[in-house]
Each structure stands twice: as structure tokens, then as C-alpha cells.
């Protein structure tokens, strides 16, 4: 039995809530009462609960199995973090309470900021960005504000070919032209090409490190020198900070700004698409250009600087406000809980185990899949599709066949610098036993894909999932983005 849409379960006269009787009152709506019904369906609570339980049962989840999506970092989400985020006195605070009544909340945010400063070796941090992509925007805006303040706004941002799509999109949203820097054969940014591209119109470089090929940019200190020599800023996409947390401080690499995806490195749950949180750490030169609001701390306690004019008074030339309130407090609580749970020692172990697990996969699969690059990887192992050459099986088919084996596929077709990419990120919270089972399955699939015989195991996969392959072309050509009530047939209108 397929679960129908909520709207197909409608019966007016039902509701899943009870509310007290509305007290008698004068209406003061100025005649703006809604006339027509909204069209929302009526269901009882049991129906709503069952609907969403049943829907959930068609989802894969990290709690049910390895979720090796490269560049997405699906690791275990501790339940303690969820419990803490719901603690009375934290989860139920209003963002505009008098500051005197939220000193604990501000102290918590500052405590998280301290951890981030210590882990990154950077002196300043902006807490408000709502997600990694907004963090990028925040970083580039601060850079643009600093350049503008120096009378030299510049025009271009350099982005390696292997970058996440958010990097170029962000640069454009911030008013810059984007210039791509090619990669070398070893999967790093081409230093010579960078040098050639740098010039007086370059505002910044955006480099992911470890990069999206799962490799550490060996020349990163040199990159920073070149960038700074050219009068530009070095923005680091911190999406992969989980590979180096506790082992390398970005501040020691010459970076000027870097966002941190709390859900990746610090395990706030991804929730099927969010919410995220993307604090940005800044170097000294960029520190005076942070967004509002921010927290200041003195002997009288914690203060919240919410307005650009107040910031200006204390020498912060804030570029403005990025979102409604102070930031993703719910995510802050989870991330701080995660940090306190791991401690400095545990966070370092997190990075090491993530890297160890990825290299273990790489070493165990390199003879049957085709590694994209040589050498140790960081937290994720990248393969291309050359092992599938002439097999009649595409990367997509291979990924879908994994579903029938009970695994969520890896990231595919990203990064773009590799043909038919397969990017596998196991994370530190997978056991060796799970990896061994995963490896055995991958090896068996690779042999089946490249051997003789029928390939429908791949081309017709998945067959054991709640749905077989979905027609994405039809979805895009004739977009149906919402339920519509059936139009009454003409006969019925008689």
C-alpha cells in the first residue's frame, strides 16, 4: 500500500489538534478577514502520525547504514546533542529577549566561538551564517568590505575547477567575476596557472582544503603567499575541515577566512536537507568587517551588538546583516555538545580515524576500482570510471546497484575534474567491520560490472528500493511542484 498525499486523505471536520474555545472578543482586523477557505486537508492525529512514520520508512539514513556520500560527511549524530538542543532555558529562548535574561545563551555561543578560534588558530569568528553557502557569502562580503574600505574593491575571484558549485555561485552573488583555475595531474590546483591569473583585479581565491578530490593542497602555504603578494585574500572553503581538525590549524596556513559546516565536522544532523550552520573564522585583517550581530564580552557580562551603527562606534565596519536573528542557536548547542563530548583529544582522533578509514577503503579497492590520483587521500577516496570502460555500466548504474546491496551510494559525478567520479567518504564513525563488508560488496560489484554476462543488475537497478529509477526528465519538462485538486469533470457540473 502506497502512502497517499495528505491532501488525498482530507476530510473536513477532522483536526489533529484541539484548542480551547475562542473567547468572545471584538474583531480588530480592519476588515481584512480571509473570505475563502485555504484548502488545507483535515486529518486526525493518528492519521498524521502514521502518514509521516510511513513516509519515513522509505528513507535511507545514517542510523540505518553507512552513507558514504563524499563531500557530504554523513557521520553518526549523537542523540545527546538533540537532547541538549531541547533543554528548557535554551531551546525556548526568544531572540529579542532583554540581553540581561539570556546571559547563558550568549556565553554558550561565545564558548563555541572559542572552540572554533582555538581549533582553527584564527582570531575572529562570525557566528550568524545559516549554512555553509551563507558562510561563503559572509567570507567574501567581508573580503569585499575590506577591499572597498581600502579603496580597491577589485573584480575577480579565482576558483579551482574542482570547487563546489557554491563557490562560483557565491562569488557571483557577491558581485565578482569568476575565473577557473585548472587542476594538475595530481589533483591539486595548478600553482603556475594560479600565479598567472593573480593580478590587481583579483579580490580573492576560494580554495577548498582538503580539496574536493579528497587531497590536501600541498602548496597551500605558497598559495597564501602568492595571493597575499597580489593584494588578494585567501578564502578557504572549510567543508572538509573534518579531515584535519585537531591536526592542522587553518590559521597556520595563511588563510584569511574559512567557513565551517557544523553539520559536517561537528555532526549536527543534516535532516534531509538542513538546517545547517556556517560560522566563518577570520584573520586579523578581516576581523573588523564581520556581520552584525556579534557578541562582545566585558566585566559587565555579554553584550549583543545587533546594529551596524553600534558596531561602527566600536570600530567594526560591519558589512551588514545576513539573516533574521543571531544565528543557528539550535545547531550551536549541538555542535558545542559534540565538542565537549569529544574534547580536544577526541577531535584529533576524529580527523585521524576519518582519514584512516578513507585510506583503508582506497587501499582495499584500488585494484578493482580506478583511483583518480596517487598517494594517500584525506577523509575521502576518489575514483574515476575508467574501471568501467567498455563494460556497458555507467557510474550511475554502479551507484544504483549499490542500493540493491543495501548501501547508500557514494557521491557520483563530482568533482567535475574527474570523469565519472565516485567519491567515497566513510567518516570516522564507521567500524572496520562495516568497511570490510562495504569493501567486499564493492569488489563483488566491480567484478560483476567488468566481467562477462548480463549487466541488468546495474542498468536496471535499483530493484529492491521503494522506487525504481525515477523519470527526472519528465519531472523537469512538465513540472508538477504541488498537489492540485482534481478538477471536477464537466459532466458533474451539470
Amino acid at each position: 500500500h502506497e502512502e497517499p498525499l495528505l491532501f488525498e486523505q482530507d476530510q473536513q471536520g477532522r483536526s489533529g489538534v484541539d484548542l480551547p474555545e475562542v473567547p468572545r472578543h471584538k474583531t480588530r482586523l480592519g476588515g481584512m478577514e480571509r473570505k475563502a477557505p485555504i484548502g488545507l486537508p483535515g486529518l486526525s492525529e493518528p492519521q498524521v502520525v502514521r502518514h509521516f512514520v510511513r513516509l519515513s520508512q522509505t528513507n535511507y539514513a545514517i542510523d540505518a547504514g553507512i552513507y558514504p556520500l563524499g563531500s557530504c560527511t554523513m557521520k553518526h549524530n549523537p542523540r545527546l546533542n538533540e537532547k541538549m538542543a531541547r533543554m528548557p532555558g535554551l531551546g525556548d529562548l526568544h531572540p529579542l529577549q532583554p540581553v540581561s535574561t539570556v546571559q547563558g545563551a550568549l556565553a554558550l555561543i561565545e564558548s563555541l566561538a572559542d572552540w572554533l578560534r582555538t581549533l582553527t588558530g584564527m582570531p575572529a569568528v562570525a557566528m550568524s551564517p545559516a549554512a555553509g553557502a551563507q558562510g561563503e557569502l559572509c567570507g567574501l562580503m567581508a573580503i569585499r568590505a575590506a577591499l572597498t574600505a581600502a579603496g580597491d574593491p577589485r573584480k575577480k575571484v579565482l576558483v579551482p575547477e574542482s570547487a563546489h558549485g557554491t563557490n562560483p555561485a557565491t562569488a557571483v552573488q557577491c558581485g565578482y567575476a569568476v575565473e577557473a583555475i585548472p587542476s594538475t595531474d595530481d589533483g591539486r590546483m595548478d600553482l603556475a596557472a594560479l600565479e598567472a591569473a593573480l593580478g590587481p583585479d583579483v579580490a580573492a581565491i576560494m580554495l577548498t582544503n582538503p580539496n574536493t578530490c579528497g587531497l590536501f593542497e600541498r602548496d597551500i602555504v605558497k598559495v597564501a603567499e602568492l595571493v597575499h603578494k597580489a593584494g588578494a585574500y585567501f578564502y578557504c572553503d572549510g567543508a572538509n575541515f573534518n579531515a584535519i581538525v585537531g591536526r592542522v590549524r587553518p590559521g597556520d596556513l595563511g588563510i584569511d577566512a574559512m567557513h565551517i559546516n557544523l553539520h559536517k565536522t561537528f555532526s549536527t544532523p543534516h535532516g534531509g536537507g538542513g538546517p545547517g550552520s556556517g560560522p566563518v573564522v577570520f584573520s586579523e585583517p578581516l576581523a573588523p568587517f564581520v556581520p552584525v550581530p556579534y557578541i562582545r564580552h566585558d566585566s559587565a557580562g555579554f553584550h549583543l551588538v545587533e546594529r551596524q551603527d553600534d558596531a561602527e562606534e566600536e570600530g567594526i565596519h560591519s558589512f551588514g546583516r545576513l539573516k533574521g536573528f543571531h544565528g543557528q542557536m539550535g545547531m550551536f548547542i549541538r555542535a558545542l555538545t559534540y565538542m565537549l563530548s569529544h574534547g580536544g583529544d577526541g577531535l584529533r582522533q576524529v580527523a585521524e580515524d576519518a582519514v584512516l578509514n578513507a585510506n583503508y577503503l582506497l587501499a582495499s579497492l584500488q585494484d578493482v576500482l580506478s583511483p583518480a590520483y596517487d598517494g594517500p587521500c584525506m577523509h575521502e577516496a576518489l575514483f574515476d570510471d575508467s574501471f568501467l570502460k567498455d563494460s556497458g555500466v555507467e557510474t550511475l548504474d554502479f551507484a544504483k546497484a549499490m542500493i540493491d546491496e543495501g548501501f547508500h551510494p557514494m557521491t557520483i559525478y563530482f568533482p567535475l575534474v574527474v570523469h565519472g567520479a565516485l567519491l567515497i567518504e566513510p567518516t570516522e564513525t564507521e567500524s572496520k567491520e562495516t568497511l570490510d563488508r562495504f569493501i567486499a560488496t564493492m569488489r563483488a560489484l566491480a567484478q560483476a560490472a567488468t566481467g562477462e554476462g548480463d549487466k541488468t543488475r546495474f542498468t536496471a537497478a535499483p530493484r529492491l528500493a521503494p522506487r525504481r529509477r525515477l523519470d527526472e526528465t519528465q519531472a523537469a519538462r512538465k513540472p508538477r511542484l504541488r498537489w492540485q485538486p482534481e478538477t471536477a469533470p464537466a459532466e458533474a457540473a451539470e
Binding site: 489538534v17 484548542l19 473567547p23 480588530r28 482586523l29 485555504i38 498524521v48 519515513s56 528513507n59 540505518a64 554523513m74 549524530n77 537532547k83 531551546g91 529562548l93 526568544h94 531572540p95 529579542l96 529577549q97 545563551a105 572552540w115 553557502a133 551563507q134 562580503m141 558549485g165 557571483v172 552573488q173 590536501f216 585537531g246 592542522v248 534531509g272 536537507g273 538546517p275 545547517g276 550552520s277 539573516k323 533574521g324 536573528f325 565537549l340 574534547g343 583529544d345 577526541g346 582522533q349 582519514v355 584512516l356 585510506n359 587501499a363 594517500p376 547508500h408 570516522e428 564513525t429 564507521e430 562495516t434 522506487r467 525504481r468 523519470d471 527526472e472 519528465q474 519531472a475 498537489w483
Partner: protein, 445 residues
């Protein structure tokens, strides 16, 4: 380390398979000078109960609106969330899944997003909606950016009485590159209908506005359209749409709402959820994710993320927005709570909110020297006090009453605005709360 399954033996065996002598060998690409050798100045790992105590100590230093009479609003509202909502969003299959890139094993998330999009479209009176934005303010910023793309004009006009946070986000997102953004002062008496000119991409208004005022948007829609601009409507209290005419029914082109009031806790300002709805004809200019209906290989109905040629992961520098992660789980919470409410429940909830606000206003109007400035409102109104509202709020907080939001916290502090207190009521407002507010104010004023 309770979260780490590898044992020391595992690590040795794995290094051996890799052919590495130690974990350091895997970090060879890190410049030597940047390799941390000594531990950072951070505490070691701790047990669950020690961590709980530490977080509880932070919580203990706050005054929870759940334990005090609270009239705080101005863009975030304390509503009751049914217990089943929080339970359902914590189900592993929702909480610990990723963006549904593999639709065959993500139908739960996808169908819920499809239902969410439908709910948002219905509620706002629009034709289509996306799968959520970070919050109401960023949704509004994205709406203005979309208006610029559609009209190919550069100027954005923000009418008076738009929440200053929202106006600031619009200014940041639309004005950062040098494009003109005209933000009227919140209390500016300017006629918004006179603001759009032939360079204006959109007129941005709020409904109900910052002061809680509910007014007919049709004249503004007409004025905007006449100037070739779009009307972009911000809604900070989405429960209002259960009782008042939908923006879509008054000519709005884009509606950007904060959805927190339905299903999402206050959480000191985030995460919340932005709702984004518009006309069908603007479909390919929508920012963020869209979920669409299709069929699978066996002809069964199913759902996928669609029209991703608008998005950064495909379109890169030509994307409609850089947004990637959105507010998926909060959107799910919104969807579940609204499913529970249904047509009848939402209407009654909205009526209760209005009734409580009217009761609060009437009780306050009986105090000498205090006036309600908002002539027509839903669940929030501006109260003029005989002295600066910020001081009054502080004095009330000492008495354990969260009396509302002083306008001066949001808007320029000059002029008569500083005596304005924004007062909100919801279904959770009790008679005893109103009494505490009135008695407190009488003492404090």
C-alpha cells in the same frame, strides 16, 4: 571515545593494509610547519552527564519565556508545538538522512517536501513554492534578487514598517554589489504606493507589518505593477494567514514568510524556516530546491528534486542562488504541524491568537498614558508608552515579565519611535499573563 568504533588493534591492522607506518604518514601532504604536534589548549573528552551539566549551566543563566509571562514577537513567536511534531522529526529516517539526491531511497523526505510546497502555496495564495529557505529574512532577500532577475532592473524599494532585520538582509543581499536599495525608515509616513518608479525591480512590503498593522495590499500591487515592478510581500507571523486575506489574493508576486510559528521552536532565533512562494510564470527563476512529481520505471508515482539547472551544484556561477543546505527538517516540522492543524485547526488557532491580542490590547488601553497605535492587527500591535520602551522592558524583566520588544532595539533610536513597545500575544497567552503585564506596567510607568 563512545562515538569512535575503531580500536587500537583495528588501527594497526588498517595501517598495515594501507602500507603506512603510522597515521602521520597519511598527513604527509601537510606542510611540516603546519602539523600540530602538541595538543591544543582544549579540555579532554567527557562523559555524557558531565556534558549535560555543562550545557545545563548555560541554560540556568537564562530566563525562559516558558516560565515567565511573555509578549515577545517582532518576527519570532512562541506557539505551542504538538508533541508528535518533535517526535516525528527526530525519527532517524528523517533526522539522519541527507538531501534526497538518490530519490529511490528518499521518497519520505521528497513526498513531505512536495506536501510542504503545496501547503505553502495554499497558505500564501500563490501558485508555487520552493522546498524552503534559511528563514523569513533570507527568503525576502532572495525574493528581491529574483525580482531583479525577472524585471532586469536593479533597484529595490523597501516600504516603511518592514522589519528592520528583513530590510537589512535585503540591503545586504541586493545592495552589496552597489545596486540601489531604498529602505524607508520603519516609521516613515511615506505612501508606499508612491515609491516604485521605472527603475524599480520590486516594492517590498510586510503584512501584517512591523507594527502589526493589517492593511489591504491591492493598491500597492496595482502601483507596483503599473511601474513595471513586482510586489514582494514579507510575512513574519505566518499564523496570521489563517485569518486574514492571503497576499496572493491581493496581487503579490512573491511572498516570503518566516515559518517558525508553525512547528518550529524559538531556539533563540534559529534554525527557523523561510517560506518562498510565487507565480507559476516565475518558476525557472526560483532560488533553492524544488521537489516535483514524476513516475518511476514501473510507472509508480514518485518524487524527485527537479529543475536543478537553476541551482549552484549544476549551474555554478549562473545559479539563481548560492543556497545549498536549506531548512529541510524545519520545513518538515512546519508540514507536520500544519497537517495536524488542517483547515479548521489553523483557523481556530488564528482566531485564538487574535482574541488573545485583542484582550491584551484592551487591558493595556485601560492604563493611563498608554495607547495602542495599531488600528487593525492580528496578534501583535505597537503600544506607545509615556517613556522609552527599552527602559520599561528592562524594569519588567527584573519583575520576571517579558513585556515585548522595544522598537528602539530594531529601528533608529531617534524620535518618538523610542517610546514604542511591540506587544504580541498568542494562544499561549493566559489571563494571568495579561494581568502580570498590566500590573507590572502600572508599577513601572
Amino acid at each position: 571515545m563512545r562515538y569512535l568504533p575503531l580500536t587500537a588493534d583495528d588501527r594497526s591492522a588498517m595501517l598495515a593494509r594501507i602500507g603506512a607506518g603510522s597515521i602521520d604518514d597519511l598527513y604527509v601532504d601537510v606542510p611540516e610547519a603546519a602539523r600540530l604536534t602538541a595538543p591544543l589548549d582544549l579540555p579532554d573528552h567527557r562523559s555524557e552527564f558531565e556534558v549535560e551539566r555543562e550545557i545545563a549551566a548555560f541554560a540556568g543563566r537564562n530566563l525562559s519565556p516558558g516560565t515567565a509571562p511573555s509578549f515577545l514577537g517582532a518576527g519570532a513567536y512562541r506557539h505551542h508545538i504538538p508533541a508528535s511534531v518533535d517526535h516525528l522529526i527526530q525519527r532517524s529516517e528523517f533526522l539522519t538522512s541527507y538531501t534526497p539526491y538518490q530519490p529511490e531511497i528518499s521518497q519520505g523526505t521528497l513526498q513531505a517536501l512536495f506536501e510542504f510546497q503545496t501547503q505553502v502555496a495554499l497558505l500564501t495564495g500563490m501558485e508555487v513554492a520552493n522546498a524552503s529557505m534559511y528563514d523569513g529574512a533570507t527568503a525576502l532577500g532572495e525574493a528581491a534578487l529574483m525580482a531583479k532577475r525577472i524585471t532586469k532592473r536593479h533597484k529595490v524599494v523597501v516600504a516603511p514598517a518592514v522589519h528592520p532585520h528583513y530590510a537589512e538582509v535585503v540591503r545586504t543581499l541586493c545592495g552589496f554589489t552597489g545596486d540601489p536599495v531604498l529602505v524607508c525608515d520603519t516609521g516613515d509616513g511615506a505612501d508606499p504606493a508612491a515609491l516604485p518608479d521605472d527603475e524599480t525591480a520590486c516594492l517590498v512590503v510586510q503584512y501584517p507589518d512591523l507594527y502589526g498593522q493589517v492593511r489591504d495590499l491591492r493598491p500597492l500591487a496595482e502601483a507596483a505593477h503599473k511601474a513595471g515592478a513586482l510586489l514582494v510581500v514579507a510575512v513574519t507571523e505566518v499564523v496570521a494567514l489563517g485569518l486574514v486575506t492571503a497576499p496572493g489574493d491581493m496581487g503579490a508576486d512573491v511572498v516570503a514568510c518566516e515559518g517558525q510559528s508553525i512547528g518550529v521552536p524559538l531556539s533563540y532565533g534559529g534554525p527557523h524556516v523561510g517560506l518562498f512562494a510565487t507565480r507559476q510564470k516565475f518558476l525557472r527563476q526560483i532560488p533553492g530546491r524544488l521537489c516535483g512529481e514524476t513516475i518511476d520505471q514501473d510507472g509508480r508515482r514518485g518524487y524527485v528534486l527537479t529543475l536543478s539547472a537553476r541551482e549552484q551544484h549544476i549551474r555554478r556561477e549562473k545559479a539563481t542562488s548560492n543556497i545549498c543546505t536549506n531548512a529541510g527538517l524545519c520545513a518538515l516540522a512546519f508540514c507536520i504541524h500544519l497537517s495536524l492543524l488542517g483547515e479548521a485547526g489553523l483557523r481556530k488557532l488564528a482566531e485564538l491568537n487574535h482574541a488573545r491580542a485583542v484582550q491584551t490590547a484592551e487591558a493595556l488601553e485601560a492604563i493611563d498614558g498608554v495607547t495602542v497605535e495599531t488600528s487593525a492587527f492580528f496578534n501583535e500591535f505597537a503600544l506607545r508608552l509615556p517613556r522609552p520602551a527599552a527602559e520599561v522592558v528592562e524594569a519588567m524583566a527584573v519583575r520576571g515579565v517579558l513585556a515585548g520588544v522595544p522598537l528602539s532595539r530594531l529601528a533608529p533610536r531617534e524620535g518618538g519611535q523610542q517610546d514604542i513597545l511591540l506587544v504580541a500575544a498568542t494562544e499561549l497567552t493566559q489571563d494571568s499573563d495579561i494581568q502580570a503585564l498590566v500590573e507590572g506596567l502600572k508599577e513601572v510607568l
